[in-house]
């Protein structure tokens, strides 16, 4: 990121260092969301096994190892 910031204008939104935290936060939230669907067994969702059970068929058909 820093190398691109030095070679390009600061106004350029995509290469800017200002995007570092928004991008990291977005990736973290979206990874958590994918984790909730594909792997969580209540540890994160705090719903016991309810969400895990509810999305059982989706996990199988998305090809994620289930049981």
């Amino acid at each position: 990121m820093s190398s691109s910031a030095s070679s390009q204008p600061v106004v350029h939104p995509a290469g800017s260092v200002r995007l570092l935290w928004p991008v990291l936060a977005t990736v973290a939230v979206l990874t958590l969301l994918a984790y909730l669907v594909a792997f969580d067994q209540g540890a994160v969702s705090r719903s016991g096994m309810y969400l895990h059970e509810l999305m059982h068929d989706g996990r199988h058909l998305l090809g994620v190892p289930c049981h």
Binding site: G15, L19, V23, E53, M55, D57, R59, L62, C66
Partner: protein
């Protein structure tokens, strides 16, 4: 000449379009999975329950006193694919923004489609060929943690393989003929894929009496679900970005 703010929309605008494309594609994938996959899931569960009743000690995954009934699980399919699709669409949009500084000139939707294709190949097809999807009643619950870790690792290795392919493509040089660049890309991709297939452990856990045709049908439906998901994300994202670009070009200077 790098892109300016007129041709590159802000991160949030791209992200929202990625999430929307992913949500819609996820619901489409859910519809496909419901029609093409659910009958096979039902058939596999019937086999699983027959096995559980025969030997109660086996008790792999009890569907009878479950928190969510079968009707709920069939409906939950759409929740799962919708949320998963939104997450994947958002990640695709993030990758699109991060890679946009490498792009030359105006994006005509190609890079969004290429990214979706790369994700389909690296994060779906490469892992699927090593660790194909399993219906209920297939898979030893004792190895689920090991299979989950190796599956995730395989997703990462698949993406590395695609990256190695693009590296090979670019390493040959822009003046090289297309067939040579494509050969370098295929070589880089196959090298990483082959090595990871050999190095990663295999799991043979299909019960001897599980119907082969049912396993095949289920796996085909599962692969189809992911193909619908990523094809949908790519096409919808490219379409939404095209629309956004035209809207911005209309309100700002008509530079394009």
């Amino acid at each position: 000449m790098p892109l300016n703010t007129t041709t590159t929309p802000p991160f949030v605008a791209v992200l929202v379009r990625g999430l929307l494309a992913g949500l819609i594609a996820g619901l489409l994938a859910g519809t496909f999975a419901y029609v093409a996959g659910e009958p096979h899931v039902e058939a596999a569960i019937a086999i699983e329950e027959a096995a559980t009743h025969a030997e109660p000690a086996a008790g792999a995954h009890d569907h009878e006193d479950a928190l969510v009934g079968r009707t709920g699980q069939r409906g939950g399919l759409f929740l799962a694919t919708g949320l998963f699709g939104a997450a994947m669409g958002g990640l695709l949009a993030t990758a699109y923004v991060l890679l946009s500084r490498r792009r030359r000139g105006d994006d005509d939707g190609r890079s969004g489609l290429l990214l979706a294709g790369a994700a389909l190949l690296g994060a779906v097809i490469v892992p699927f060929l090593k660790y194909p999807a399993n219906p209920p009643a297939v898979g030893d619950p004792a190895t689920i943690n090991q299979r989950t870790v190796t599956y995730l690792l395989m997703v990462v290795l698949g993406l590395v393989a695609v990256w190695a392919g693009s590296l090979g493509y670019r390493s040959v040089g822009a003046q090289a003929p297309t067939w040579l660049r494509a050969t370098a890309a295929v070589g880089g991709f196959l090298l990483v894929t082959a090595v990871s297939y050999v190095v990663m452990p295999s799991f043979q856990e299909v019960p001897a009496d599980f119907p082969a045709t049912l396993l095949w049908s289920f796996r085909l439906a599962s692969l189809g679900t992911q193909v619908v998901l990523w094809t949908g994300i790519g096409l919808l994202f490219a379409a939404l970005m095209h629309h956004e670009r035209r809207r911005r070009a209309g309100t700002a200077l008509p530079s394009t």
